[in-house]
C-alpha cells in the first residue's frame, strides 16, 4: 500500500465517520462537528491528490474549503443559538413544532 492509497483510505474513513455522526448524534452542535469532519476528509483528499499533479490547484481549493467551513460554522452557531433561545434545547428532534402543527 502506497502512501497515497493509505491517506485516501483514511479520508474515506473520516468521511464515513462524519456521515455516521450526522445521522446518529442528536445535538445540533455535534452534527456540526460531524460536518466539519466530512469537510476535512475532503481537504485531506485534495492535498494528497495534489502531490500527483503539477500546480497547486488542490491545495488552493482546500484553502477555499477551510474558508467556507468557517463561514458555515459562524452562521450555523448563530442559528443554533437562536433556536436554543426559543426552545431551550438544541436537539433537532425536540425542535419540531412545524410538523405537529400540520397534523
Amino acid at each position: 500500500m502506497t502512501d497515497i492509497d493509505f491517506l485516501f483510505y483514511l479520508s474515506v474513513l473520516l468521511f464515513c465517520c462524519g456521515l455516521l455522526i450526522v445521522f446518529t448524534k442528536k445535538n445540533a452542535l455535534l452534527i456540526l462537528m460531524g460536518i466539519e469532519l466530512m469537510l476535512n476528509a475532503a481537504n485531506l483528499n485534495l492535498v494528497v491528490f495534489n502531490r500527483q499533479q503539477a500546480g497547486l490547484d488542490g491545495q488552493l481549493f482546500a484553502l477555499f474549503v477551510i474558508l467556507v467551513a468557517v463561514c458555515e460554522a459562524v452562521v450555523g452557531i448563530a442559528i443554533i443559538l437562536r433556536v436554543y433561545h426559543y426552545y431551550k434545547s438544541a436537539v433537532p428532534d425536540r425542535v419540531s413544532e412545524l410538523k405537529e402543527e400540520n397534523r
Binding site: F15, I31, I35, N45, D57, F61, F64, V65
Partner: protein
Amino acid sequence: MNQPVSMIPDLLQIIPEVLLAGSVCLTLLLGLFVKKNRSVLLAVVAATVFIVAGIYILTSWPHKPEEIFAGTLRVDDFSAFFRVLFLAGGLLTLFISLQKENATEYVILIQAIVLGACLLSMSMHFATVLVSLELVSLCSYILAGFAFNKPSSEGSMKYFLMGTVATACLVYGISLIYGISGTLNFSSSQFVDALMQSKSVMIAVAALLILAALLFKLAAVPFHLWAPDVYQSAPTPVVAFLSVVPKLAGLALLIKIVLAFNLFGRATVDWRMLVAGISIVSILAGNLSALAQTNPKRMLAYSSIAQAGFLLAGVATLDPTGIQAALFYAVVFLLMNLLAFTALHLFEKWKSLPAMADFAGLGRVAFIPAFALTMALVALTGLPPTAGFTAKLFLFSSLWASWSDSGSTIMLILFIAGLLNTVIALYFYLKIPYYLFLKETPPGTASIKISITGNFLLLILVIAVTWLFLNPGLLMGWINRITFVL
C-alpha cells in the same frame, strides 16, 4: 502564468456582478448612516442596481462565449439568460413588500444571493462553484429565519443542517473528481479525457455526491425534506424569493454539470435514466404529499418540489430541445411562483390565514388578489389561458420527441407520469380557488384594502403570465439561440 495579469479586462466582462458587489457595500454604508426612510431608500437603491445590471446584460446580447479569470468563469448566452432571470427575481421580491425591521440586512442578503446565483450560472471551475454556491446557501439560511419567531428559527436550523451536509458531500465529491482527473475545471478537455479513460467506480460515487448537493438546492426528492418547514415558517416574500432564485441557480449548474459528466453519452452512469428517475419521483412525491396539506404555504412547498421534477424532466432528455423547454419552464415558473406568493402575502398582510378553509368567500371582498392567486394556481397546474400550459406543452413535446428519437422507455414513462400528475395536481391547486369563489363569505368580513403597489405588481405578473401564453414565440426565439457547448 507567471507574469502578473491585469484583471481589468476580465472585470469589464462582469460589470453587472461588480455593480452588485459594490451595491452590497453601499447598502451597508447607507444602512449605517441613513435613519429616515431607510427601508424605502435601500429598496430603491437595490432595485435601481438590479434594473441597470439587467439592462446591461440584455443590451450586450448575444454574448460571444468568452472564458475569463483563467477559465473559472464563462460569459455566454446561457449564463446571461439565467443572470437576467435572477436579477428579475430579486427585483420583484423587493417590490412584494417593504421590510421594515432589519431592512439593511434584508436588502444585503437579497443582493448577495442574486450575486451568488449570477456567479454560479457562469462558473466553469469547482472553486467558483463552491464559493458562489455557499454565498447563495449561507444567505438563504439566514433569510429563512427572518420572521424572528419560534417556528422560523426552527425552519432555518433544519435548512442549515441539511444544507451543510449537502455542501460537505459536494466538496468530497469534488475532491474525488480532482483525484481522478487532476483538474478542477469541468469544462476543460483534460477533465473530459481523464473521465473517458478512467474506468473507476469512483466517478459514479463522486458524480452522485455532487448531484446530491444540486438536488438539495433544487429541492428535488430525496433532498426535499427542508422545503415544507422552511416555506411554512419563513416570511412569505422571503419564501417567494427562496423558491425561485436558489432553485433556478441550482438548475443552471445542474444542466452544466450533467452535460459535463455525461461525456457525450459515453459515461458509465446512465444519466438520462438517473435524472429521469429523480424527476418522476419528485413529481409524484411532491404532488401526492401536496394532496394532504391544509396550510397553503406548505401546499405550495410540495407543489414546488413537483415543479422541480418538471424542470428536471427537461434536463433528462439531455438534448438541446429538452433543455430549451426547461429554460422556458424556468421563466414561467419564476413568474407564476412569484405571483402565487405575492397574492398570498397580500392576503396574509390583512389577516393570518393558516388553513385553506380560511380563504372561504374572500374572492368577493378582495377580487384582484383572489383573481391573481387563481391565475397563479391555474398556471402551476398547467392549464390555459396561462403560460403554465405553454411551458408544459413545450416540455411534453420535447419528451415525446426524445422518446421517438432515442426509443428509451424511461422518456415515455416520464411523459405519462407527467401527464397523469397534471390531473392529480388539478385537485389540490384548485382547492384554494374553490374556497375563494364558491364558498359563502363568513358574516362580518370587512373588505380588504390592498395597497396600490401590491395591485400593480399582481397586475404586471398576471399580464406577463397570460402574454407568454398568447405569444411564446419571442421568448422561445431567444432561448433557441442559446447554445449548450461545454
